[in-house]
Symmetry: D3
Subunit: 332 residues, 6 copies
């Protein structure tokens, strides 16, 4: 999606916008490419108009391969097919962030099973990891099918599959709400190796209870025996500018907690969960263990909140500098 950022101002009062690209699962690809320096590509669909080409340019900026984008012909007024946009102001102190999503009728919501040649992507290109999640699967009736198709193809090719349980009320409003989303998620979780988000678990850091987390994670593993790694960020949100942040994962039968960052300054919290996912994927792809994964994920989630835009504009050195300080931050 094309993201419009009014900077220090509010959407309703600004006269200028800085644009970024962003979007649920896309951000993970961007972070893996521009921060973790891995080859990554985005499979999506865009309407072929000036907005779509602007989005393509922004994706290239982040070193993400744009060659797998499916381009749809534009009708000139975006009646039949559009590019998604969202407007997001980052909030300040007790003024919360506020967004306005304009994603009806997008090219990607219209994608159908069969539109993408997954064989080519997974087999020919030797893709090692495939990531998707609840936002893509929830875009329309057809996108859950595309997710299924892709995840199956990935598994068959030997690619690891990760899935983020992201949920947006607005996407499911009038289509069965949370229950329908859960239904889709559960179907897709049977095809995932790695999962971000934990069903039935409250990720508020102030209430964190390790036994509850472990129980929820084990319950998911019982239902979906294919899953090998479950992780979630943990947060306390004091206000738009101050959070506590940590992360926790369950793997190899054990719980691993990431470092806890207390009372940290937040510039723009969007994309923090995607940075968390990217951090974990990076370590797992490198063959590192769950401790490495949760440490890197937590530090990445933190750093993503210190820059504008959806993406993790940090280096692995910066992430390492924070993830190594596990649990012993200077508190103020």
């Amino acid at each position: 999606m094309l993201r419009f950022d009014p900077g220090d101002e509010r959407i309703r009062t600004t006269r200028t916008f800085r644009v970024y690209e962003g979007g649920g699962e896309y951000n993970v690809a961007r972070n893996l490419a521009s921060c973790f320096r891995l080859d990554s590509a985005i499979v999506t669909a865009l309407a072929d108009n000036e907005i779509g080409r602007l989005v393509e340019s922004l994706i290239g900026e982040g070193q993400v391969d744009t060659s797998q984008i499916v381009w749809r012909e534009s009708d000139g007024i975006s009646r039949s097919v559009r590019n998604g946009m969202y407007f997001w102001e980052r909030g300040f102190g007790l003024r919360s962030p506020k967004g306005c999503s304009d994603r009806g009728n997008t090219a990607i919501s219209q994608i159908k099973a069969g539109d993408v040649d997954w064989q080519k992507i997974f087999v020919e290109h030797g893709t090692r990891w495939f990531h998707t999640g609840g936002i893509f699967a929830g875009l329309s009736e057809t996108t859950a099918d595309v997710a299924t198709e892709a995840m199956q193809a990935a598994r068959e090719s030997g690619s690891i599959v990760s899935y983020d349980l992201n949920y947006r009320d607005s996407l499911w409003s009038g289509r069965g709400d949370r229950d329908a989303a859960n239904e889709v998620n559960r179907r897709l979780l049977d095809l995932a190796d790695v999962v971000f988000g934990v069903e039935g678990f409250d990720s508020a850091l102030t209430n964190y209870d390790e036994s509850k987390f472990e129980a929820a994670a084990r319950s998911m593993l019982d239902r979906h025996t294919n899953i090998r790694f479950i992780a979630t960020p943990l947060r306390t949100i004091y206000d738009a500018s101050r959070h506590d942040l940590s992360g926790v994962c369950f793997a190899d039968g054990k719980v691993f907690r990431g470092p806890t960052f207390e009372n940290v300054s937040v510039l723009d919290r969007v994309g923090s969960g995607d940075a968390f996912a990217a951090g974990a994927i990076y370590e797992l792809l490198a063959g590192n263990d769950a401790r490495a994964a949760i440490n890197t994920a937590s530090a990445a989630a933190l750093l993503a909140m210190t820059t504008q835009g959806d993406s993790l504009a940090a280096t692995t050195g910066e992430i390492r500098g924070l993830s190594d300080r596990s649990n012993d931050f200077l508190s103020r």
Copy 2:
């Protein structure tokens, strides 16, 4: 609509946009309010989200009354109802202007007969002039009905009605194209006193032939005896930065030519036709004659091209300064 302007850059390469409000017939109201200092209001519909409120703020900037806007509840992702947007780069020299319209599913395209209390607008508020045109009428199947309803109510109340024959390919694509648009226009022309645009007439200035203009105008008057004033700008477009511009009207059985501005510098041509209409309406509302109307219309159309944004950011003094120099400009 919310207009996104990349300034000196192109849409596909920019990273920042300046926003303006704009839109076919709306611009006329804006020009009458902010340039000609007449009370004017916009009757439209907007989705009630941050984008809609930004548009409202921009409309207020131009001193146009926003109290007649119909606010539609937003679904959170703009699937069911949206606010229109368009992206427009102004071109430079031989690089032409280029736009990208994103106006599918807008609140205004969903408006239906009966949604607006025209009695209140025309009778209670004592509205003296009503302007609409082919863009609004062409937005959807229902907007032509709304236009009919409004024009009839206006006429009954004694308000003068003007109509602009604006045509956008993209709006009629798949819905009968130019023929269908003409069909709608002709129906509505029976309800108009003043018309901008002339059927069957080529408005290129280089080919201008007064007898052809007169014939075309007379032919329209024959078909629609209610019409009292027909006018159109005349142009030669050398490139994005250089035009010739003039205007011509037919009224009281005679043709009146406006001043001719040759080889003028153009910054942003959008809204020039709406400035032309506003200039003519201003003079006619003031009880002035067709000569005054065509002179003011032509100068307003010119000045609208010397500023960014859809609107005529000029003063009546500046318009007068140019319209009085009829036909004797220094040529370079």
Copy 3:
């Protein structure tokens, strides 16, 4: 006034300014219009030059009716009559905010009794509330008379009258200072129903003593038996970026405390008091009680400090979200 904001820079080092409109009592009208969605108009005078027209455009942006502005002819160099301006940098941490006011010889300071047709404003337009205060009354020898005239006309028409005890040293310097200001205020307080600011009371939150507040308020009521509602914000200013904020009012013989917001992030504190006033007026106009008024006033005062510009760029939903959390904020 036209406000020049150097953003993150200082006035003396910047090369660009963002402009806003703002000014003591005006901000209340703006907040009631753009945040609380009530019809409101500003009665002021402006010199008719490019600066005045820019101010008019900014006022329209905020949905405030500009039709009651009295326009004064400009002499071309602003020797005889000017538009007020002020430059304000918002400070950062221990660097305090700093302003530079340029308001000598303004059109509004020259306004005299008889210049405005208050009958039309209060009777014809059915105005329900009139707000003014010590800044306007202190602009010049004549403005106190205009305030008197206006408040009397308002009372006669049945409009509620509110008055803010705002005081600016610079306005009274060389004209009797605080004593002279108090003298004017006391005269005008006899014409007010609602008062913001409490004579003889220290509004520092750290020293807050309810009995002292009550005593000061009762003393004012004894002197001015017409007053029905007295309110003031309470603050502790740690530095430019961190405040504690609350509010308190006296009405119906009782004291009501608003929620206390501790250690909150402040972006730009200007206009916080005007947001406080607008919040209270909104609730009182809606017929709600003093508890509602002080809660909304306090939350509005807080949110006004989270955005740039004098105005309260928030929604009633955002205000409600904070005002309902009375006294039980998460403390860090």
Copy 4:
């Protein structure tokens, strides 16, 4: 003065201003310092507030010595003493430039004979040239006296004195208009060696008649026998973006014409006359002849119009590159 420039927008529609410093005779000092690399200082008065300090910083940017500025205490609201400001939009094509001057009650307009120690400036600092003109002399009743005093002191010290016949209607409105200005000018011309502007001569290039110029110049020399060099730019203004420009001077009993630049692109014409003066002064100070002076003056006047701001942001190399091409430009 502090100059506010809305860039591509108009004053009444912009939301941001770029600031520059500028002002009639000051610009000459700036051009001599930053373009021609001569030591130069400005003698003026500023109110000591944030605006004054911003102006000081801008003056330093141009390498002009700020140590002779007289700082006046500010009263906090600029009622008694102010810093001058002007707002200027540069126009585009047939939309003319437009300004709004806010220079009433400035510190410099209040300067009086005796306020400046001219002895120190001319004798101790060894000043070789003093430039002033009709804008400074016209600011108030007292500034003409200060000009007289300064010019006399300069002459006595052996410094060359130049005077620009600049005239602004607005400065003399209500104070005797053009006649009063001429009266002051004539008095001061008796103290000048070099004069820019020619009484009784039309400087429109299209009407240029060398004999008329020579007659007017000789007539001035007859009246003021102290004058040794008289020069003026010659212009044709097609529109805000296109001028013809040249220059002419009279010295040593002969007329010298500068190169003629036809149909040149103009970005911002303000300060062109001051660049003309600076170009001539530079050559004369270097001991070069009238031909060099008029060539450099004309090219400098041209280049000043190709940049924003009042000043001549060019190098002597660039000026030389144009001044040498006298009269044989490629015409388009």
Copy 5:
């Protein structure tokens, strides 16, 4: 190189820069990727610091493959190895463009034969075209060897090789000047199929003489029998804002002239020659003839001058729209 653009201002007066990436032969790759939509990669070397990563991001923006960049370790202060930068202001009217190149000691100037695995690039990746030129070859003593090595490898792999005779005085100053550059060029021309620039031919459009062009081209072909296509843009530069532009090529024993664009508006002329080369390469790669090549090259060269930045920010549709109008432009 990282390009710093002061926009409407001059380098010496600006306070902000917009950055772009750019550089002699690189621009051709960028144009082929972002305008002509061909896969293209840049083979270069960058110091691995924040500036290098910014340049990488800018290259990605233009859809150019960054995977062949050789990253050199940074010493922290860019003493041993740097990234090239250049500052460029585009000029306006008679004020010429002006640049300031800061390219000493760059990573790419230090590249040596053997540093790049050309086999992988040409054979494994199936590269169809290789472009380089006189700027790269002139960077240092070693880069000519790298060019030789690359061109030989390309030829052996069957890839087409093009070479641009670009010459920069500053690169050869102190190293033999034009003669030394010619010496290098001639050596490399023996390895080229396609050449941009013609030795011994004056490309000024006003002096264009087809027979002279043909003679010069034939002479080059005689000396370098491997060359199959020679082309050059033709220009007249009136001033920074106005050029005439055309192109001419020699192929298959015949001369082909491109369309002539007279008196066209120029925003930023940098990169026009690279756009010319890209246009020709695109057509030749597509198997089209020399007429198509010269038409597309000429139109591309023109459009590159209508946008900021080194690159051709245009679409093939826009290029086609201009190249088809060969020789019959409306003249003003």
Copy 6:
């Protein structure tokens, strides 16, 4: 050096830079001029190109005398001599500041003993204070000699000499590292009256132990008996946005602690040490005692971190307001 600041963004993701001037010892001169209003000049060398002239303009902005700059001819591509640049992003919360220095081969690093006429500077101009330090001395093999020469000349003329023990790893990398730097410093310390930085002392505020400071200071005095005043800031850095700050000095045989500012908001920490030095120098030059010096130095160091850019953009009034509150700040 020319400093490039990406504002809220990171260097690798920004598209625009704000430029400032800055550099180790230079900032002290700037602070003394623009904040403390003392005459000050910078002795440095710049390459004479557009970048050098931009730097000159920025230096003038800060009221620093530019007449002692040695201008070196540019070779057009900055191969032989360059102007230094550095890119600096200020960090946010737990994301640390990050810089990228590009200072190889600068004009100033090439300066040699004999290049500057120190007699003229110290004797003719009556310079009262000379400040330099470890950055300048470490630029190259020749700059330590220039420092020696200058310090000796200063001492002979009666000027006070101060030296800052600034150390940059990157400058000494490959040249003997810290040991070689210490060697140079010690040689130069024999020529200093006032020293900033204390050898063998840890300036972390959390570990502060007055006896250790005193011991380290006394030890330096023993080695360099010429030193009369030694001072250093003390800091705790929680993250990029929050520091504790204080200062301490040793003079007249006693230790003086400055006020302690706890948990203060930091915008941009660069230049804080130079502000500290300037504050101390200002008081010592005014003949005030060590207590005044350390208080002013500490408050200046604090305020320098509340603005962008290297310089101390504060007034003496603001500094006084903070330095007087010694040790009794409200803690949050």
